[in-house]
Point group: C2
Chain length 349, copies 2
């Protein structure tokens, strides 16, 4: 790595002159600037980011902690984060907590040592279950801006970006009712997450509003312990979940619609329904979470609720950087931004 010092020596000028010339300072004569910059490009000089960070106390780097990158939703979130961060001149340093609280703590420790200007975090399942957020409050003490996304908690005071989980399901039930569906079931494999709860609540409220009651028989709650992300839970889904869903469909022959709260149950339901020779979506309309690709991969096509994951990433970064740049003293109160979902494809168009 060539340094200012080396350039200065070769050109017989001082380091500060070179520095100023590199930065096109008006203090420096046009000629010197030219000489300096010529040599700089020749020697492929790049200003050392580390040194700049030390001086300016800004790293232009954001820390990102996501629970699980193998979940397509978070992959899209990360995509949105990276693209947007880059547009705004920031790098991202990325961690995957694998739904583990201790990993989350480790990563926050690493991040807390001056490497980042701000943190984007989606809480791990374990953290949410234990309902303990002390490790995150350290950030606040350090005055590091934080944006919580998707997996959030009321217990931390910061900017947040979420999707309208409750409304998403509520509106989906409403729309299915409008299309003439008489018995709408609900499957969830994520009732242990707060987003999962919001979705269940949306279903319950809608059931009561539109059918006068919420029949527990129509709600299938799949329960499994969180595996490490590498295992992908695929064994669980392949066996236990598969059977439960099949039983659920068989036990409820009058079902003419199913809403799945997570992105895998929906696809499974389509496959199982199709195996059971049920006409989808004619006799059974199935709605799940996901995106266009998810929808395309299932056959017959699953109707999907698009969570606009990229948008969540994007808005989170925008909020975070705004917070980083805002005057600490002017205590702008924190905002919670709600990204609207939309329904696309399949049967409910």
């Amino acid at each position: 790595m060539v340094t200012l010092k080396q350039l200065a020596q070769q050109l017989n000028v001082s380091v500060s002159t070179v520095s100023k010339a590199i930065n096109n300072s008006e203090e420096i004569s046009a000629e010197t600037i030219k000489r300096v910059q010529k040599l700089a490009t020749e020697l492929n000089y790049k200003r050392n980011k580390i040194a700049l960070s030390l001086k300016s106390n800004k790293t232009l780097t954001l820390g990102v902690i996501l629970p699980d990158i193998l979940n397509r939703f978070y992959a899209k979130v990360l995509y949105g984060i990276q693209i947007t961060a880059e547009e705004l001149g920031y790098d991202i340093i990325t961690f995957f907590s694998r739904e583990s609280m201790s990993k989350e703590i480790d990563y926050l420790q690493i991040i807390g040592s001056g490497t980042v200007d701000g943190v984007l975090l989606a809480l791990s399942e374990e953290t949410l279950n234990k309902n303990d957020f002390s490790h995150i409050k350290d950030l606040t003490i350090n005055n590091t801006p934080l944006v919580l996304l998707d997996r959030i908690t009321d217990k931390i005071n910061c900017d947040k970006v979420i999707i309208d989980d409750f409304d998403a399901i509520y509106n989906e039930v409403k729309s299915l009712v409008k299309m003439g569906r008489k018995q709408i079931g609900f499957i969830t494999a994520i009732n242990n997450l707060n987003v999962g709860q919001f979705r269940s609540n949306g279903y319950r409220k809608a059931s009561i509003d539109f059918f006068g009651k919420c029949d527990q028989q129509l709600m299938l709650k799949l329960v499994h312990q969180t595996d490490s992300a590498t295992k992908e839970n695929s064994e669980y889904y392949r066996t236990a979940a598969h059977q439960s869903i099949e039983q659920f469909i068989i036990n409820n022959p009058d079902l003419d619609a199913i809403i799945a709260a997570d992105n895998i149950s929906g696809i499974l339901a389509v496959n199982i329904g199709s195996k059971l020779n049920i006409k989808i979506p004619k006799d059974l309309s199935i709605v799940g979470f996901g995106d266009k690709l998810t929808s395309m991969l299932s056959h017959p096509q699953l109707t999907i609720i698009n969570q606009h994951a990229v948008q969540i990433g994007k808005r989170s970064v925008e909020l975070l950087i705004k917070r980083i740049n805002c005057d600490k003293s002017s205590d702008n109160s924190f905002v919670t931004e709600i990204i609207q979902t939309t329904t696309v494809g399949g049967s409910s168009k």
Copy 2:
């Protein structure tokens, strides 16, 4: 952020004493160490990574450039990278080139300014097409260790990690032949990538070896321009590719096996075959790339060739860090590591 200086002032000792005490130096008396460390934890002192980097000329950070995180394969690669990097004490800073050469160049520029100790790179489609790698050679000049993974080129001299694309397909054909399949088709949507070519070549060679010829009629090459990653090419797959595959299957009624070179065509083929009321895998065995989850989501189940993406990420990091730590002068020649694929699930077990 509390600094050594502040600790020193509060304790009425010098900065260097504090530094040594924090680092448990033997020069310092046990008592002082205790005093210092007590205050340090009290004030939540963390040594400033940036300052350390500047001093040591090591960042303990790796740069990662992947073409597309929405591709599950690369998501898994990234997962493997992060986990392994963390184990070895490194952070990762992540970029997605979106298959664009200019993005790749931008990112290498950013990375080239002293922020990372080494680079992990899977080349963008555009870079491979243009066959121009000058921007990458800059790294070599800078003496930044580089590991190319999955998408590689002979033109760059560095460590590489790839999967055995040729053999994977070759062996799959072999295994299908052994199971009595008489007419094996091949579908590829990635013939523009070098990995795609390897796979096609594996099919060709195997066809010639086992059937005495390679019938062009049995090879379907899907062509589409690269969209931005957000668009997910889903429109293309939903329409044009879907039709082409359907025609392909209809035009080749004697087909009793299909190998798909990419992870989407295989799933599409399953869905289309099932729509055409073909018994899968009894009458038509379909093999594609992917992982357990992919396989589980298709119905009937796709047989899949597992690329062990996590393993690729893991080995890449290990090679890179080994290279970072090795004596620059001792010119250990570069290695190319080949990760073996395996076939799982579905019909070919």
